[in-house]
């Protein structure tokens, strides 16, 4: 039996965490000892707990985000159109530069999925599907969609969700790998499970509504028509609720009508004076022309 001055505190932590995820019945002192051992002993576990619950500094957040992005890009690689990738980075970098986290190494990518969706990883990595780009009508809509994703990063929604879920990870298969300072590979490996879990389940609805509000303000700060995101949500709202192209988006987000209701309340007349700002239809149409005319592969 391992005896350690911190043992009682660790047991209390583990009990609290397992209770919260419904695993209390499966937890006895022997298993706790085995878990502590598999986590690199008491010192390793303490480091884990600090890593999971302490503040994650910006370099760590960026490293985690890159781990998350490797798995998201493993699900679907980038769409093969360098000019389009560049264009989306230009719009995205400009929108992100209007946020209080302009100093992050922002990256934007279009993946080759025909499904409609967009994803944000901690630290400033944004992936949008080519299906989404086909659905949008102008650059202001793209700025609104990217602004929503930038909003998730700025407000650290995924990072906080992962911190909340850290116990699940520590108690699961990733326990032995999820130690801080083991190098990038171990971190990526440890993040695979939580990434799949989080991006399949989605964030809390309130995080999505908040990202909508932040996204609209960022796109408007960037000089776009404030109604870009609303326009994109209007288009989404007319699609069949059970459309397979929207399955994951529908599962992980409030429905477009609810989002428009909330956005309408938040926007009120706050941004009306900016509605003559550009939508840049022509520049957008030129950028996505190849995407719209190409045969799917």
């Amino acid at each position: 039996m391992i005896r350690h001055p911190n043992r009682r505190r660790i047991v209390a932590w583990v009990l609290a965490a397992t209770a919260s995820i419904g695993l209390l019945a499966a937890c006895n002192p022997k298993q706790i000892d085995a878990f502590v051992k598999s986590s690199g002993g008491v010192d390793g576990l303490t480091a884990n707990l600090k890593g999971a619950f302490g503040s994650v500094d910006q370099p760590k957040e960026i490293e985690m985000g890159r781990g998350v992005a490797e798995t998201l890009l493993g699900a679907r690689p980038l769409h093969d159109d360098p000019a389009l990738q560049r264009y989306v980075n230009e719009v995205g970098a400009w929108v992100a530069s209007q946020s209080e986290r302009a100093d992050l190494p922002w990256r934007f990518g279009v993946n080759d999925s025909d499904h409609v969706n967009a994803f944000a990883a901690p630290g400033g990595i944004i992936i949008v599907t080519r299906g989404m780009l086909r659905l949008l009508e102008n650059e202001a809509e793209l700025a609104g969609v990217l602004g929503h994703e930038v909003g998730h990063v700025v407000r650290k929604h995924h990072l906080n969700a992962m911190k909340k879920g850290a116990w699940t990870n520590l108690l699961g298969a990733g326990a032995s790998a999820a130690t801080a300072g083991k190098g990038g590979g171990a971190l990526v490996d440890a993040l695979v499970g939580p990434t799949k879990e989080l991006y399949s389940r989605g964030l809390d609805k309130d995080d999505e509504y908040e990202a909508d509000r932040v996204g609209v303000v960022l796109a408007t700060r960037a000089g776009y028509d404030p109604y870009g995101l609303a326009g994109a949500l209007q288009t989404l709202g007319k699609i069949k609720a059970d459309d397979p192209y929207l399955a994951l988006l529908t599962k992980t987000h409030p429905n477009p009508g609810q989002r428009l209701d909330r956005l309408g309340e938040a926007m009120g007349e706050n941004l009306t004076r900016f509605e003559a700002q550009p939508r840049n239809e022509a520049r957008f149409a030129a950028a996505v022309k190849a995407l719209r005319t190409a045969k799917p592969d």
Partner: protein, 172 residues
Amino acid sequence: MIRWRCWGLATMLCASMAFADEKGFTLREVEVKARPFLDAATVGKVPGKAAVTVTERQGGWARIRVGATDGWVRLLTVRLGNPDPAKNDTALLATLGVGKQRSASGATATTGVRGFSEEDLTAAKPDPGQLARMDGFAVARATAAGFAAAGKLSAQSIPYVTSDGRIEKGGK
């Protein structure tokens, strides 16, 4: 392959559909304006929950037609689709012009659709090579500012807003 030949037709259909009339409905009673401006003349009123045809969208405004009334209302006072989203009948396949297409010979072919479904995510393996590719497309802030200027975009100082439409404390 038949499915590729159909793609050109699908693309043309898609382009022509972009400005097609769309089914919609009002959320509440709305004033219909002659032009998409708040101070434009009012040309009529439409009650809430009325079925309308949305013929055009322009930023914060939607042009609607209902009976003899034709004019502009605020975008967020109308919704596209059906009041009950479960009754929406527009498939994304039709909107995007991808998926099942009928060929000239009458045979139905399914185009290759690449998904990002829950199953795709579950089966994913980390791909550092793709992330490195993504790094290669990164745009510096100065470049982004030049892109914005070319698009006549001027940065504005605007605070964040709260869920009930107030100014968020600590906003820019």
